[in-house]
């Protein structure tokens, strides 16, 4: 079970060219800035916008083939979409929204409502079954939209910016729910997002989209080590530390990762659970000897790889936790950095942005 997309889609005379595959059981994130063509691609995969060239194949059946003129219309595709603005039907209750795909397929009303209520129960919103979408909180609406996309058992689940509409508190809970549901979903999972944290925490593999073209494909780790574009380096190629926060005596905090502790400024909003700390590689200082400065984080490790791209070099370090540093090519030469050389990495606690997960 898998999807193969190899299309050129056109909307408002802007061409989006994309070729990628996704296997069942893996989550692929289409990551790109606004205007990169993400929503055009969503519309194409959902069957709302026939591609001008190319083909889409899902589980061996052809959904689009521009050459032979094949186009399976959106209502006949086994694709469940959760749209960015959810697009719940305002005149129907939560229950009727979730039952809608079954009713559209001719399932009797009582049976459709019974199954919809069951699914709402699994998402813990069954007590809101008779509320209108306007009466639901952001998190509740998100659950209803997810249930509506899943109820007809699609082969492909397509989530468009699933967390962008939520506030910080709801985001954490919905992210957990999403991760759980993505894991349970047996088919192909695609999320579309402009948020690298969302992409790297939910997806196994990233497809980067910039200006209507795919610029990079790989696991978050691969892209972090060897980003192929500036966008990839700036957004995905960051150091990310995940774990619960520990309060230190001086009022700062430490993210307790599997590999070790990272000192950060204490975020006032923190209550419990995991956080993600984001550190940009240019903020990491490398030195051959133990640095004696204000940096609270000082880690020692050997160089695992050095990738030079023009004037910049990305250095991957086998510290604990692992780090990526970005320095000038000149510094690489001056410090004599190459694979296996032992080095010190340091960065200040305030340079780590702490985000709720």
């Amino acid at each position: 079970m898998s999807i193969t997309v190899d299309v050129v889609s056109r909307r408002d005379s802007f061409d989006v060219e994309a070729a990628f595959e996704a296997a069942a059981g893996e989550t692929v994130a289409l990551l790109g800035p606004n205007g990169s063509g993400k929503s055009t691609l969503v519309a194409t995969i959902a069957g709302l916008l026939p591609p001008v060239r190319g083909r889409i194949e899902l589980e061996g059946s052809l959904l689009d083939d521009a050459r032979s003129g094949t186009h399976v219309s959106s209502d006949r595709r086994p694709v469940g979409v959760v749209f960015q603005d959810l697009l719940l039907f305002p005149h129907l209750s939560a229950l009727e929204n979730v039952a809608f795909p079954l009713r559209a397929r001719g399932v009797a009303r009582s049976e459709a409502h019974r199954r919809a209520l069951g699914l709402l129960g699994r998402f813990d919103v069954d007590q809101r079954a008779h509320a209108r979408p306007s009466e639901l909180s952001g998190g509740e609406a998100q659950r209803v939209a997810l249930a509506r996309a899943l109820i007809a058992e699609p082969k492909l689940l397509l989530l468009d910016e699933p967390l962008s509409a939520l506030d910080v508190g709801a985001r954490t809970r919905i992210r957990d729910l999403l991760r759980e549901e993505l894991r349970r979903f047996p088919g192909v999972r695609i999320i579309v997002t402009h948020d690298p944290v969302e992409a790297t925490t939910l997806a196994d593999r990233l497809v980067l989209l910039e200006g209507g073209r795919i610029t990079d494909v790989g696991t978050p780790d691969e892209i972090r080590t060897r980003p192929r574009t500036r966008y990839a380096a700036d957004l995905v190629g960051v150091n990310a530390f995940q774990g619960p926060l520990d309060r230190l005596e001086d009022g700062s905090g430490a993210i307790v990762t599997d590999g070790g502790r990272i000192i950060v400024a204490w975020p006032e909003w923190y209550e419990r659970g995991d956080v993600i700390g984001v550190l940009r590689p240019p903020d990491v200082t490398l030195s051959i000897e133990l640095p004696m400065g204000s940096a609270r984080n000082v880690l020692r490790g050997v160089v695992r790889s050095v990738v030079i791209d023009g004037q910049r070099a990305r250095v991957r370090l086998a510290t604990s936790p692992e780090l990526i540093a970005e320095i000038t090519a000149g510094s690489v030469e001056r410090l004599g950095l190459r694979d296996g050389v032992e080095t010190w990495a340091s960065f200040k606690a305030v340079e780590v942005d702490v985000l709720p997960l």
């Binding site: 069957g47 305002p90 559209a104």
Partner: protein
């Protein structure tokens, strides 16, 4: 206090001007109430002729309103959602009946559907069918003048409707027909009701096009406004009574539906 805010103070000049406006609308109705032949109101309104005209008016207005909705919806959809060559021209055409003197509309209908009209001659020749001076002609005249109101109201409604909701429904497995039935039409219900009432009220009051194209035949084409016009020359008291009846019917409908869409 809210009333002390400068922006909430009512300009002094507005009160007499607003009063003139209300008086303009209310005085003819008050006049009718005063001039109506109350002593023989039962005889005037309960008479066969009045009841026949009332029944015919209701049938004609309702038929015209339904036809305007059924033919207006697809056109409104095209105008709201599709770009096509000549769209500006089509939009100008659609509102023409609103700005055209009704008697001219009647003459135009005669030119098209009369026995020697473009379409009328074909109908007569091929089917031996003559539309003029039938109830069908009265419906056609009322349809003609009420159609633009239905199209305008429906088009405004369709423009305000988020098309992405229909897209979402289609990705959830809904066919076009099912999307129309479960999403588009229910979401448009207030605008459809507005279009229905506006076109119905316009059709109910139609006079010029009807009398020109359909004639003034009791029981066939003589709607209430035509009956009023006829009585005005023979029995003015009865004309006042019938006018009052016409206003009462329209008022009951508008007032009964208030809150649904009239805010």
């Amino acid at each position: 206090m809210a009333s002390s805010r400068p922006s909430s103070r009512t300009p002094a000049a507005w009160i007499p001007l607003a009063a003139i406006g209300i008086a303009l609308v209310a005085l003819p109705m008050i006049g009718l109430l005063l001039r109506a032949p109350w002593s023989r109101i039962g005889e005037v309104l309960g008479g066969d002729a009045a009841l026949t005209a009332l029944r015919l008016s209701l049938v004609v207005a309702t038929a015209a309103s339904v036809l305007s909705l059924v033919t207006g919806f697809p056109l409104a959809w095209l105008l709201a959602r599709r770009g096509f060559a000549g769209k500006t021209l089509v939009r100008a055409l659609v509102v023409m009946p609103l700005v055209m003197p009704p008697v001219v509309a009647g003459v135009g209908l005669l030119a098209a559907f009369g026995r020697r009209g473009v379409v009328g001659s074909v109908l007569d020749e091929w089917f031996g069918f003559q539309l003029t001076f039938t109830t069908g002609a009265a419906v056609l005249a009322a349809w003609f003048v009420s159609f633009p109101l239905a199209v305008l109201a429906l088009e405004a409604g369709l423009r305000g409707l988020d098309e992405r909701l229909e897209d979402a429904a289609s990705t959830l497995g809904a066919s076009r027909g099912y999307v129309l039935r479960r999403i588009t039409l229910p979401l448009l219900a207030p605008q459809i009701a507005a279009a229905a009432v506006l076109s119905w009220a316009r059709a109910l009051g139609e006079f010029g096009a009807t009398i020109t194209f359909a004639g003034n035949l009791r029981g066939r084409t003589q709607t209430l406004p035509l009956a009023v016009f006829e009585r005005l020359q023979t029995d003015p008291d009865a004309a006042f009574g019938l006018s009052l009846l016409l206003i009462a019917v329209a008022f009951v409908v508008i007032f009964g539906l208030r809150g649904r869409f009239l805010r």
